[in-house]
Symmetry: C2
Amino acid sequence: MRIPIDHQSNTAMYKQISEFLRESIYSGSLQAGTRLPATRQLARDLGVNRITIANAYAELQADGLIYSQQGSGTYVATPPALPPCAKKEENNDHLPPWQQQLQEQPWMPSTRFLEALSQKYARPGIISFEGATGDSRLFSIDDFRKVIQSILRRDREEALDYGERAGYSSLRRTIAQILTTQGIAARPEEVLIASGSQQALALVIQALLHPGDTILVECPTYAGALDLFRAYGLNITGVPLDEKGMCVEKAEEIIQREQPRLIYTIPNFQNPTGVCLSGYRRRQLIALACNHNIPILEDDFVGDLRYEGYIQPALKALDPGGWVIYVSTFSKMLMPGLRVGFLVAQGPIYERLLSYKRVSDLATSNLVQRALDAYITVGRYQAHLRRSCQSYRRRCQAMINAIEHHLPSGVRFIPPKGGIFAWLQLPHNLDTLKLYPMACEEGVAYTPGFVFCCDSSGKDCLRLNFAAQPPEMIEEGIKRLGKTLQRAIKTYAI
Amino acid sequence: MRIPIDHQSNTAMYKQISEFLRESIYSGSLQAGTRLPATRQLARDLGVNRITIANAYAELQADGLIYSQQGSGTYVATPPALPPCAKKEENNDHLPPWQQQLQEQPWMPSTRFLEALSQKYARPGIISFEGATGDSRLFSIDDFRKVIQSILRRDREEALDYGERAGYSSLRRTIAQILTTQGIAARPEEVLIASGSQQALALVIQALLHPGDTILVECPTYAGALDLFRAYGLNITGVPLDEKGMCVEKAEEIIQREQPRLIYTIPNFQNPTGVCLSGYRRRQLIALACNHNIPILEDDFVGDLRYEGYIQPALKALDPGGWVIYVSTFSKMLMPGLRVGFLVAQGPIYERLLSYKRVSDLATSNLVQRALDAYITVGRYQAHLRRSCQSYRRRCQAMINAIEHHLPSGVRFIPPKGGIFAWLQLPHNLDTLKLYPMACEEGVAYTPGFVFCCDSSGKDCLRLNFAAQPPEMIEEGIKRLGKTLQRAIKTYAI
């Protein structure tokens, strides 16, 4: 145990010790039942006389904060309640000036806002279409447990070392092979493993942009990307979407006006709208980027989850050489908590991204990378993907049917052909943030649309995740959403 | 399999497909032995006629790039060697202009430089005192394997979900308890889990500083921190160290002149010098920070590894409230590849740091956090720490003895009392980077001192990690270093 002692202080040493312990007990950092060190031990640790410790303990014992147990030692008791004003941290007047300044510039990621919103209106039995992952119940934990076992038995210490900074080489080979089957000719040395695709996006921003630079995005787009761009001080400029994805023909004018340094796009089953960029527009977008010397950041977070229609080539597959940085992840499909994503890049930018990876967190967990690689290599990933795809296809259909059946006719919506999201636009300018508490009352939750927008649009929109619930829950949840909308239309007397 | 097809192209469709596959085979992304999809399957995937696929396959087969196996399918053959100019990526003339610009502004983290240096001069039998971790052979992999097993059995999907963004709450409680025993009164809600202490440092920089701001550091200091500060565009200003750590009395003048926005310090067993900040200077530093309204970033990466002398309170333990952000890690002592570190902060800065954590990578691997928590809670961490401490104490002594015995008398060095590093200053202005190849020839490797310096100093210094080698290897390694120095002194005719 380390206790700070000021030898120059006017406060007696035993008093300094007892005060420190008192504060620790009241603050909860020394919890009831914790065994304190023996006086001899603590005296040695602190370089003080044993009597000093005995005096400190005696005082705390007299106050009922600790107790001795014959032959076993001294323990922390449950402290009596303090008067409410005693917690000095509640009073921000004592904060350092630099912290007070921070307080005056509040900034909160929208994901934090959504979490707080969801917690505030949570109630039992709510059917939530929030969230941005698949259904983890479809995943076989036991398979994965066995894989980790075999990795630790096989690789021993090596699995717990830093490993290669670009990522475990066998996993990079595996990823390159998977991408090749998807038309992306990536070599292992062009793959960089990151701690989730969120980190991959952050690395690209750090390596390519400066605060004050402009980035072009689809509007609406992934809220976590907007959070990142805002945190980095970027100007965000949006291009609208239609059922064929980003309206690339409108992008040229915006590019000329705003001079963006990067184009961020989600071409497949876009978050939040669920739409896919058409093949024609994909080629248009590449040409636009090349003509204006702008790199493309392609976020392909669920490209594998197609339930109908033809696959379009990834932008990366159309890349004439070094223009597109491709980002993807295993998190959505497998286990978000593993935090393994990756990017693919060619040219000097790859080395730059690797440098930012090093300064950001040195490397991604080696053990998890090795486990993931083994899991994929023995074919379990592919099997899981097939199972998930079958299941999500049914859920997608259930969502489409339920929307058509239970929601009022003014609701606009493009039936998704894959992915995990559906996007609704409500009639009568209904504000989906204001509506949220009412929906929770009716027993259904969604993500309000404004968080996906870089401007003031999206207020009358909402996002539904259809992958995380079985069909019968989807049916019931959308029914409840229908009730909410009818109530809202009545309440606001539209 | 996804293959990009351009329906508007003048190139026949079968040719587009065969060219794509050819490129994939030559680039190695489709490896020899890989089974190709059946023609029927691929035709369906790509939405083309089966004959088109058959033609493409026939062409590749004629070129010996693929082969059919009766009743089993079509496989990738080992491709014949290409003439060297055929790899277009080697030719940087085809790079996009924005990538050519990157090429003109090269920037490399020193850790990358060191890795390349070490690889260049690697030879069998070399005794390396490089590296910055303990000895992973002391760690019981089997204990850890069992812990992961029990976590996955107990927590199931929950262990693979994102979890709490600030970190697994039980692990945060455990950390708060450990810190309390070290005199740091931290509450679980003041602890933030990061992907290694490197990420914790990065979060603090992002949350508090802007490019162009000045940061005050010890000179020399942790090279990975310098890399981070440079990547973020900070001005770095150094304060010298002596055997009592940072010369705080010299810092005041520098602070007045340079107006730093943050003080970064490693008070315990500093990296690379191994010295500890004295108790008096700790209090001086806190007072200085408060007087000048500057936050302190305290990096306590091996504070637990003391082999002699008294423990000084952490700066965080002396914090009058919200001034010190404390960063530490389990990586050095346990398994660097796990990537779990943490920080402790009070006041509005905590929430700000959490926001940057979210945008950086959403959360740290939940499974790994849970396993680590269980490992610590059952007392295995403490047992491992005790074992490591005993072992490293002997190695530290072996290093001190060997240096005194084998190195020429002009070598200056402060015997470490803990940690994992010793720091040498060579006589005659010997340049430790220039000496490195000679040392490797003699069969010993160290880290050249210049990488730890924010200015042009440190060229005649080197860092030794004594924790990663058993005593007999330390003795032998230092003997070889002695030979190197004697040879150098002769060679350079000093």
